[in-house]
Assembly symmetry: C2
Homo-oligomer: 280 residues x 2
Amino acid sequence: MAFQIAVVGLGLMGGSMAMALRGFRDARIVGIDVNEASLEKALERGVIDEGLTAPAGPSDLWVLCLYPRDLAGFVEKNRAFFTAGTVVTDIAGVKGAVLEKIPPLLPADVDFVGGHPMAGLEVWGFDHAKKDLFQGCNYIVIPDDAARPESVELVRSMARHVGASRIVSCTAEEHDRNIAYTSQLMHVLAAALCDNPDFLQSKGFEGGSFRGATRVAILNDRLWPQLFLENRDALVLSLDRLLGSLLALREDVARGDEEALGKAMVLATDRMKKWQKRQV
Amino acid sequence: MAFQIAVVGLGLMGGSMAMALRGFRDARIVGIDVNEASLEKALERGVIDEGLTAPAGPSDLWVLCLYPRDLAGFVEKNRAFFTAGTVVTDIAGVKGAVLEKIPPLLPADVDFVGGHPMAGLEVWGFDHAKKDLFQGCNYIVIPDDAARPESVELVRSMARHVGASRIVSCTAEEHDRNIAYTSQLMHVLAAALCDNPDFLQSKGFEGGSFRGATRVAILNDRLWPQLFLENRDALVLSLDRLLGSLLALREDVARGDEEALGKAMVLATDRMKKWQKRQV
């Protein structure tokens, strides 16, 4: 029998995942979504081989592309379909809460291997899904302690298949601390940057730096608050560090301290050059 | 006699300007730089028609690509070469200080038309110069009050020739207030974002949002402090606004206020969508 993958949630991420998974282990791809319109479109375009509004049987690999808060409910409700040997992965941008809640809800002979592809777009929904969304991305893989090595390898090879150029393994805690900084902070920041009375009138004065820092200011208002709050302590720490650094630079500017500003520029430059050279 | 353009300062910006100016009014291009190695390279590659370490005669158009603080000294020293009808422009990222200082140093029959191409790279020096640096950029043009319309049109047509896709005219004050926000703030921010103990170890966890906000953290430590301090009040205002917005979001996160965060995401999204649609 063919290897079967169930992609649960055909939004931007799940839809793109289903598209990118085509050809992986010659799998039969089942799409599961409460939105029948998305299922129909995915079927029409050959993205999935079968579309269901709820699971109807087992699959070999489950890729859960739901909002973080919807994961536990889905797993509890469909526990019977996670048969022995099944591998379950997800794509949520927080991992501590997921690794804590999901594996205990699964049968003991089912492996959970968390995942987080570092890719996205400032749009959402199946209509924006695209096959190459994950091309060249960092893909973070966080297995549950009890997961078998072959299950971890299955998820890693899936990540490579969908296009990840670098697969990073770490603990859920390490993931969340880093992601609070590299991702969640940047999204809070983009929102803060737009909250300026000069925002609209500044059009025409922008260069690449402005576009770069504000690009992600179009934010899914259901998803991001969940991600922020599921990783609250780490995000507050990142915000406090940024606030401290910004305030120190603000004081240098207000004081007219050209030397201190020059030193800060040298420090930032050195750090960024080291970052660029760093091998992971 | 051929129209002659003097490009003063063959760094990243001046070198790129000289390259992009080729063909504009069939001009003869004279490069002026204290660095003889840059002059030789520019001559060898046909970027300039003549290279000089100091001006030796008049030109029809002067494009001053010097650090903001070096502009006045250059103009004072070479006043004799700015003959009647000459047009002088610059590319400095601050305009209030430039428009205040430079026109009074020029002979009355010489027009100053300030310019600011919103383009750059996180490298500097002639070796990084490239012909298409200004392709598609916003180019801000700020004439001195006394400049003749044909001098303003000369600089605008120059901006179009080097590749600007949008030419914005405004007052120096308007420029500096907007640029403090769209450019200088983003550079202070990039420096602040790197000033984090987790910076280096976060490699592998970054996505597009992190790359976008930190790309400009490689900062010319002589240029940027000058730009920041020549526009101090506007930059402090921009920093205070960002600090205020960030702190409010930090409180929402710390308090676990999902509703307030959702509202902030909706607000940011609405603003960014309006910004994208806005015609300038």
